[in-house]
């Protein structure tokens, strides 16, 4: 993948300037899809329905947030689905087999994330493995470990209050899951756009050499991106255990692809250097609304699968089209 020019990578306003450009396309897409479904589907345009959508996209959304950081550095994290499953299983094992107090079990499950992320980050920065390969390895290792914990068995029967985290609505609409998602969105947005470390991540994605030459500790920032992604994946693992009242080794299968798709639909570029949390949020809504709208219209889930694929192509195609027309450097097709 072609790296952007040195000048643009270093330009301090590159993150801010391109935010508006990044988000324009996805916003238009989001509005279009909302209008479409509002027109053809009774019951779509209601507060209750939007709340449903928001709660439903929380898990994929959290994964996509973490993925945004990694893709911004020019990498990809294929392991998030499997880390999600591993975290869920570790939490379950700690609670039901080791008999630990549940909050401690949740903490242990969450810790799986940064550990996996640290390994990914070290493989990418020190061993110089391509991110695809490094996280592909972690994919197999995490999935294997998740299965080994209980030899493939589910873990069931979580405390009622734990399940309530996903279902109990406060103030009539927001669940704890939803609040967690919002907090992560807010802190991610702040981190990526307002802190030096966040901007450095984007600089690393723009051009590693230039970032290194301008004094940024590239290795440390790469590791940071993967640690964030892993941590978010683990949090999503806890969330899913709460949603389905079970931990299962196969949880999270194929989720990494949706996380990548959401980030890319939201405008984050696979070449690195450009990333938007708001864009990712919009991407999550687009997918969520698509699923919701199609469900309400009784469309077969398989047609939905096809449509998601088509939307991804359109969204990225439009994005590439508008970039080259807008005069910014054309993206290499590889």
């Amino acid at each position: 993948m072609v790296k952007r020019s040195a000048a643009s990578a270093l330009s301090g306003t590159s993150a801010g300037k391109t935010l508006r450009n990044i988000v324009k396309g996805p916003i238009v897409g989001l509005l279009a899809i909302i209008l479409f479904f509002a027109a053809v589907t009774p019951g779509f345009f209601s507060f209750g329905n939007f709340i449903n959508i928001f709660n439903q996209i929380a898990i994929w959304g959290v994964l996509a947030l973490g993925m945004t950081f990694v893709i911004s550095t020019g990498g990809v994290d294929l392991s998030v689905g499997c880390v999600l499953g591993l975290a869920s299983m570790v939490m379950g094992y700690a609670a039901e087999y080791l008999g630990l107090p549940f909050p401690l079990a949740m903490l242990l499950g969450t810790l799986v994330g940064p550990v996996a992320g640290l390994i990914n980050g070290l493989l990418v920065s020190k061993v110089k493995l391509p991110p695809f390969i490094a996280t592909l390895s972690m994919f197999y290792v995490a999935r294997g470990l998740a299965n080994i914990i209980t030899d493939g068995d589910q873990i069931l029967n979580y405390p009622a209050w734990f399940i309530g985290l996903n279902y109990t609505r406060y103030l009539g609409f927001i669940t704890v899951s939803g609040i967690v998602f919002l907090l992560l969105v807010g802190s991610s947005q702040f981190f990526l756009t307002k802190t030096g470390a966040g901007r450095n991540l984007l600089a690393v994605g723009g051009s590693e050499e230039v970032a290194r030459l301008s004094g940024i500790n590239v290795d440390r920032h790469l590791i940071l991106a993967y640690v964030i992604s892993g941590t978010f994946a683990a949090i999503a693992g806890i969330m899913i255990a709460s949603r389905v009242n079970a931990s299962e080794p196969a949880q999270g299968t194929t989720y990494e692809l949706y996380a990548i798709a959401i980030a890319v639909i939201g405008g984050t570029s696979l070449s690195g250097g450009e990333g938007s949390i708001i864009g990712t949020l919009i991407g999550a809504f687009i997918i969520g609304i698509l699923n919701n709208g199609l469900n309400l219209n009784g469309i077969s889930p398989f047609i939905q699968t096809i449509l998601v694929g088509v939307i991804i192509v359109f969204a990225v195609g439009l994005d590439m089209f508008s970039r080259t027309r807008g005069g910014s450097r054309p993206q290499h097709a590889a």
């Binding site: 990548i260 088509v310 990225v316």
Partner: protein, 318 residues
């Protein structure tokens, strides 16, 4: 210390041979420790088991050499498989016709991938990620999300019956395709063009290579081979399954990178990929024979990927 490891590795492995040494090491180790490994039947079993992966990996190797990637092969396999199954069982078409159309379904998917990459300029990761969704959805729709079974005996024999106590038809197919494509890539102009695109598309274009056409062609090949693999899997399972091959694309890519191909393009060989597929197959086989938990096998495959590619990385660093 790192420098010494690097020079050691460079002395004992030229590019592409690293995986061969790894395979030899593994085989020698298993011969020494696992008596049940050393049997003709076991070796033949291994080759049988890597047939599906091996066929798909040929096409994906070509795509990766051009600097692209194909994430859709698992779904395309399923789509071809279901198309074949539905045409054979529901429409009662003669096998020859339904096999052809089934494979063509894969070709069509590959063509779409190729056009998305060359004409719409969609990054291969995204284009084939979309196709992964689309083909899976089509596999479900075409079949009403149900299996098809009860295929002719001769059809299952394609993969089940060994001739001269050696290879089945489908395994022979794998070996023939591997040899043909390996020769093509090494000796024919077409092969050199594919490498040229991987090294630098712009330079290739200036040198007269029809970059768009060749690039589209490798995706078409990948889709076609995935379609073929779908027919083979159908023969092995004696049934068509809409959820077949979920996640296979990563196994395929694993074989290709273990075999020495570079995801940035320009580097990789069909022979290397075949060795990569063998390494995974031998690893699984050896671990099975030693009673290692099948889940631990998954963990070990992940570790092997990291190690083999890691060694390549250490080796190539100046």
């Amino acid at each position: 210390m790192k420098k010494r490891i690097q020079t050691f590795l460079m002395k004992y492995s030229s590019s592409g041979k690293g995986s061969l040494y790894a395979l030899i090491l593994m085989v020698v180790f298993l011969i020494a420790t696992t008596p049940s490994f050393v049997s003709m039947n076991n070796f033949l079993n291994i080759i049988d088991q890597i047939t599906i992966n091996g066929i798909m990996a040929i096409g994906v190797t070509l795509v990766i050499i051009t600097g692209g990637i194909d994430l859709s092969v698992g779904s395309v396999l399923a789509f071809s498989m279901m198309t074949f199954g539905v045409l054979t069982k529901d429409a009662s078409l003669p096998y020859v016709l339904s096999i052809t159309i089934g494979i063509l379904a894969g070709t069509a998917c590959g063509l779409v991938n190729g056009l998305l990459v060359t004409k719409a300029k969609i990054p291969p990761f995204i284009a084939t990620l979309s196709m992964l969704s689309i083909a899976r959805g089509l596999a479900n729709i075409v079949s009403g999300n149900t299996q098809r079974y009860d295929f002719a005996f001769w059809f299952s024999d394609l993969s089940g019956k060994r001739y001269f106590n050696l290879f089945s038809i489908t395994t022979t197919l794998l070996l023939v395709l591997t040899i043909l494509f390996a020769l093509y890539m090494k000796y024919r102009e077409g092969g050199k063009r594919i490498y040229a695109i991987g090294f630098n598309p712009e330079v290739a274009r200036l040198a007269g290579v029809k970059v768009e056409r060749v690039t589209t062609m490798v995706y078409v090949i990948s889709g076609t081979l995935a379609g073929l693999a779908g027919i083979v899997l159908n023969s092995q399972l004696s049934s068509s399954q809409p959820y077949a091959a979920v996640g296979y694309e990563l196994n395929v890519i694993a074989a290709v990178v273990i075999g020495g191909a570079s995801l940035s393009g320009g580097i990789g060989t069909i022979g290397g990929t075949f060795i990569g597929a063998l390494i995974i197959g031998v690893l699984r086989n050896g671990l099975n024979l030693n009673g290692v938990n099948v889940f631990m096998q998954q963990v070990l495959i992940g570790v092997v990927i990291a190690i083999t590619v890691g060694i390549d990385m250490l080796r190539s660093r100046k």
